[in-house]
């Protein structure tokens, strides 16, 4: 009986989480920002108690539902009001400009040169000089705009070369 109860609770919790995550929208738990990560962490903790039958399902539904509702309202406030958006998600911080490390930004985010090199390698850039502008986003990932000369060749570039040869 106990195993059946656990299985039924697992199915119920799964279906409920699927429902609220679908209602909350695609980016809600993409863990794109620190607040998404916190919401995912708390939600993960709630399911543990519900699965082992330590709390009534109604308490789990209310706790998880209100958490997601608060998360939706916070994200909505951030989307409607740019100042609120900056407060919730923070602003991107410049790490690299024209190949040079930006020490002020690095100090603010407590990032060392090795970490910047690692973040660049993650996006297949091994030489920092290729970077015109590199920003540390609120997701913790580095977004990079490369110099024109460092951009990968496109199909249209091949056409231009062919035309020049003719």
């Amino acid at each position: 009986v106990r195993l059946t109860a656990i299985a039924l609770r697992a199915v119920f919790a799964y279906c409920f989480l699927l429902l609220i995550l679908r209602v909350a929208g695609k980016r809600t738990l993409g863990q794109a920002t620190p607040i998404d990560f916190v919401a995912a962490l708390i939600l993960g903790d709630f399911i543990d108690d519900a699965l082992w039958g330590e709390v009534p399902a109604a308490q789990f539904v209310v706790a998880a539902g209100v958490l997601m509702l608060t998360h939706i309202l916070t994200r909505l406030a951030g989307a409607l009001n740019p100042a609120m958006g900056r407060l919730i998600h923070g602003m991107p911080v410049e790490m690299v400009r024209n190949g040079a490390l930006q020490r002020a930004g690095m100090r603010r985010e407590r990032v060392n040169p090795l970490e910047v090199a690692g973040l660049l390698r993650e996006i297949s850039i091994s030489d920092r000089r290729e970077v015109e502008c590199g920003l540390l986003e609120s997701s913790g990932q580095l977004s990079v705009r490369p110099h024109a000369w460092a951009k990968e060749a496109q199909k249209q570039d091949l056409e231009r070369v062919r035309e020049a040869r003719r």
């Binding site: 039958g53 330590e54 109604a58 309202l73 909505l76």
Partner: protein, 141 residues
């Protein structure tokens, strides 16, 4: 702006479904904590003297008869007699209709265990402790 309203609607629907299963179909152990989980949670709160929180697990009748300070006295008597309690678990004994019995099994040092049988009653859809059983005698000794 649709998402907040949709979320509220989803919550209301799921809560309605849970209420239907618990009150309509009479669920006693799937969407509500089973008797052994209630007993385990109660004793887990009683051992560190979180008496106010432990009171939440008592039935209306028992919570009128016993005050939080009396429960705290019971908690002190339990820890005095058992010594160091390493772990607490609940074990189902029997369930008949809206009544059940479950054991709180206390794990003690040197492989020893102590067992206390508690009586439960289903109240407002949830299992609540109605009879403290052997635990109540600790208070008198």
């Amino acid at each position: 702006m649709k998402a907040p309203w949709h979320m509220l609607l989803a919550l209301a629907l799921v809560l309605g479904l849970v209420a239907g299963v618990v009150y309509g179909l009479g669920d006693r152990s799937v969407l509500v904590p089973p008797p052994e989980a209630t007993v385990e949670n109660f004793v887990r709160k009683l051992v560190p003297s979180r008496c106010g929180m432990a009171m939440d697990h008592l039935s209306d009748t028992l919570s009128r008869r016993i005050s939080p300070s009396e429960l705290c006295r019971l908690s002190r008597a339990l820890t005095r007699q058992m010594g160091c309690i390493l772990d607490v678990s609940g074990e189902m004994v029997r369930m008949t209709g809206d009544h059940a019995q479950a054991d709180a099994v206390l794990k003690l040092p040197h492989g020893r265990t102590a067992r206390f049988r508690l009586g439960l009653h289903r109240e407002h859809g949830l299992w609540r402790i109605q009879d403290l059983g052997d635990l109540a005698t600790l208070n008198r000794s």
